[in-house]
């Protein structure tokens, strides 16, 4: 895990490759193509790139229209503006008619950093997950991002992919296989299983090592597809350890932790401890500093796992 690449950079490269392979791919951006990395596609395919200016609502509607005309639109901007500013447009113009639009947002989570709370998307997973027909995916690293962009190209229906700004460790090898709706078991623990998404997967791996030193057998499962949730794998993890810790760079309300708790409460109730951002806004700071302040580091996962173990019935 020595190399670090931002998932948005992997997106820029994957999108360009996809554009070379498929003529139906069109890309939209809302004046942030340098940040979302769609600029690489724009430079090579100017006729298939539409800069919509600072108008996210119109971008979503235009993407819907392009999909109706048979194109495969990728629409990108910061996660907070894509899913928040234009939520109702996504609901009405894309999800309701079940259109093939790919909403690939960058700058998800608080690791956006210094720009502060207005630019830190900590509720996007919640508001996308609640929409019927929507698929919600968060890659753990650059390798998985490339696999996801290729996989969603052939998928039918709307997809939301959440990317990050900061450079994050590369976890997976080139031969990593991603399947929409399938969780990826890195290891299965007898004492506790950590279900993590996005950049929290590498934190979970580090947490599992710390726990192993304490003779706690902790497993790590990458839940990149948050919706539809891979119930089979979640259930298997719960049955194996009877204690679950979820980890996400997102509000604990409505995100991965909620999805897992909702699912398990109906089929196999066990303790579910949610590591994530409590019910509050972020602030400016370095990504590392913010992760500590908002208690979403490997150490916080370790604390949650210990507490969960102590209350295990």
């Amino acid at each position: 895990m020595s190399q670090k690449i931002a998932t948005r950079d992997a997106y820029g490269a994957a999108l360009l490759e996809l554009g070379r392979r498929r003529e139906d791919v069109v890309v939209l951006d809302a004046d942030l193509s340098g940040s979302t990395k769609t600029e690489r596609f724009a430079a090579e395919f100017p006729s298939r790139f539409f800069n919509m200016g600072i108008s996210e609502q119109d971008m979503i509607g235009t993407a819907a229209g392009l999909a109706l005309a048979g194109k495969l639109p990728f629409a990108s901007t910061f996660a907070i503006f894509e899913t928040g500013r234009a939520w109702e447009q996504i609901r009405q113009s894309i999800c309701y008619p079940k259109l093939n639009v790919r909403l690939v947002a960058s700058h998800g989570g608080i690791t956006v950093g210094e720009d502060g709370a207005s630019h830190q998307s900590t509720e996007d997973i919640t508001v996308m997950r609640v929409l019927p027909n929507m698929t919600v995916i968060v890659p753990a690293d650059a390798t998985e991002t490339v696999a996801i962009i290729n996989a969603i190209a052939d998928y039918k229906g709307p997809v939301y992919v959440r990317l990050g700004r900061a450079k994050v460790p590369v976890i997976f090898e080139e031969d990593y296989r991603f399947k929409i709706g399938s969780a990826y078991v890195l290891s299965l623990g007898k004492d506790v299983n950590i279900l993590a998404t996005g950049i929290m997967v590498s934190e979970a791996l580090r947490a599992a090592e710390i726990l192993r030193d304490e003779k706690i057998d902790a497993g790590v499962i990458n839940i990149s597809t948050i919706k539809p949730l891979d119930g089979e794998t979640v259930l298997k993890a719960a049955k194996t350890s009877r204690t679950i810790v979820t980890a996400e760079e997102h509000s604990i309300i409505g995100g991965l932790g909620s999805a897992v708790a909702e699912f398990l409460s109906e089929v196999f109730p066990v303790l579910v401890w949610r590591v994530g951002i409590k019910d509050r806004f972020g602030c400016s700071g370095t990504p590392e500093g913010l992760m500590k302040l908002y208690e979403i580091t490997a150490e916080d996962i370790v604390v949650a796992a210990r507490e969960a173990m102590s209350k295990k019935r």
């Binding site: 069109v26 006729s47 298939r48 539409f50 919509m52 200016g53 108008s55 609502q57 119109d58 971008m59 979503i60 509607g61 235009t62 993407a63 819907a64 229209g65 392009l66 999909a67 109706l68 005309a69 048979g70 194109k71 639109p73 109702e88 447009q89 009405q92 113009s93 309701y96 008619p97 079940k98």
Partner: protein, 280 residues
């Protein structure tokens, strides 16, 4: 394209039949939007029965002209026009707003052939129309996209975002129409939130603008023809209309924006509309 007098007469008759369909289906449904369906009837009738290239037997024909009803509450009008175009049977119209009916209160794509987009949340149709028009242009198709907006609808900010996009990308295979009936749910548009000067605004946003009487079939058709000749910019037709047009006691009344006729009102309205057989 020269329209023969006989064709105009036929179109007027079709529009009248569609007004009757709208009133009947709304009365059976017991709820729905009467005023704005009747105000736009002549415009949409002209599109489907004289202007657009479309094929009810092949609704997904890629090179067809598209019509987006951005003011989705005028769904009864769209359903009646599609039924009379034989996209589906006339008997379907009696199921408007009923459970399990594909004729939802507002148009839903994928439930009925001929519906191009799910609409009903105002302000989103022009963006969708832009996207379709850009997609058609990329594929080199000669097809045109028509989108109908309400005047009150232009109070939505997204409309102006989309207006910028249409002219920025020189989308000339697009023709938008505003059903300028001057009324919205809460009253007169100018009292609720003024939108004038409408023509100046669209022109300032880089559009070719045409003002017409939205109930004059010749003017409607010649505006569509003019729009087709305009290159390098989108066209906006501002159609001055009367809310509730065709039924004297509905005309010009905001109250009939969102309510259906009673059976008694229907009976009186039908007498008025059927009488006009004599003058056509």
């Amino acid at each position: 394209m020269e329209i023969k007098t006989a064709d105009i007469a036929k179109l007027k008759k079709t529009a009248r039949m569609i007004r009757i369909d709208i009133l009947k289906m709304l009365t059976i449904a017991g709820s729905g939007h009467t005023g704005g369906s009747l105000s736009a009837t002549d415009i949409v009738t002209a599109l489907y029965f004289a202007k657009m290239r479309h094929d009810p037997n092949n609704p997904e024909w890629q090179e067809r002209d598209r019509f987006i009803l951005s003011k989705g509450h005028a769904a009864p009008l769209l359903y009646a026009v599609l039924a009379r175009s034989e996209y589906f049977g006339m008997d379907m119209l009696t199921t408007l707003r009923k459970i399990d009916s594909p004729l939802q209160g507002h148009p839903s794509k994928n439930t009925l052939p001929g519906i191009e987009a799910s609409t009903g949340s105002l302000g989103q149709g022009l963006s969708i129309a832009n996207g379709i028009a850009l997609g058609l242009r990329l594929d080199g198709y000669n097809a045109r996209v028509y989108v109908l907006l309400g005047d009150g609808e232009t109070q939505e900010g997204q409309v102006w975002e989309a207006a910028m996009t249409s002219s920025h990308y020189k989308i000339d295979n697009l023709c938008a129409i505003i059903d300028n009936n001057g009324l919205q749910i809460d009253g007169r548009v100018k009292d609720v939130m003024g939108i004038d000067p409408l023509v100046d605004k669209w022109r300032a946003f880089g559009w070719h603008t045409i003002e017409i009487d939205g109930h004059d079939m010749e003017e409607i058709l010649s505006a569509f023809d003019e729009a087709e000749e305009v290159k390098g910019k989108p066209t906006m037709i501002i159609a001055h209309t009367i809310k509730g047009k065709g039924v004297s006691f509905f005309e010009g009344k905001a109250r009939y924006h969102g309510i259906a006729p009673t059976p008694e009102e229907l009976a009186t309205a039908l007498l008025e509309l059927e009488d006009k057989d004599l003058v056509v």
